[in-house]
Amino acid sequence: MFGQYSHLFYSIVIPLIANIIMFSTFELLGSDFLRANLDIILGVSFLFAVPGTLIADTFAVKTGAWTFGQDMIVGLRILEVPFEDYVYGFTVSFSIATATIGCVKILDHYDRDGLEL
């Protein structure tokens, strides 16, 4: 649908939708806990996106665990790993780290006050 930008497009748009939903939902709890812990979320995202993707995806590409559609990627590679995969690593890690902090907060809120917002 988006040609060589397809992989990049979905790597940004789907996590973006997930994050908008999560931030909106968690903000209903009335505190800025996600923003207060943004450094943790960003740190974890970079950790998994850069060294994580580099090591794990290089292994995957070299062993042929999975392959990428050549028409779906821009073609820029860093150590054999397509650039899109680093973006994917960052956006996915960001979403999961956000969900994790949000879940801790929701569970903490639930333990103290039940389901009342």
Binding site: M1, S6, H7, Y10, I14, P15, I17, A18, S31, F33, A36, N37, D39, I40, I41, G43, V44, L47, F48, I55, A56, F59, A60, T63, G64, A65, W66, T67, F68, G69, D71, M72, V92, S93, S95, I96, A97, A99, T100, I101, C103, V104, K105, L107, D108
Partner: protein, 104 residues
């Protein structure tokens, strides 16, 4: 490479979580309820995304690299990938938050 994907899951999915359990078992125990919630959330977004990606040829899996069991046209290994990546990112987030994060 024969069964490269299960090998990847063993090295980059299972071993890191085993190390987390060994060194930070207390963090996992204290926040165990976060893990199934995070995995459930990742499946909500990850399964449709993966379905679109595989159907459109963003990525594919050589026959010899997987065991060959598909669920909704997605190899079993992909579900294990989603679960293991989520569990490891969740664990590292919790460990980092316990050490450096702001109180909720």
């Amino acid at each position: 490479m024969f069964l490269a994907y299960p090998l990847w899951l063993l090295i980059f999915g299972l071993l890191p979580f085993a190390a987390v359990l060994y060194y930070h078992e207390d963090v996992v125990r204290d926040h165990w309820r976060v893990f199934p919630l995070a995995v459930f959330g990742s499946f909500i977004f990850g399964v449709p995304w993966d379905h679109i990606a595989i159907k459109n040829g963003f990525w594919s899996f050589p026959k010899e690299a997987v065991i060959g069991l598909d669920i909704l046209s997605i190899p079993l290994e992909e579900y294990l990938f989603m679960a293991s990546v989520t569990v490891n990112i969740t664990a590292v987030t919790l460990i980092s938050w316990e050490r450096w994060g702001e109180e909720l």
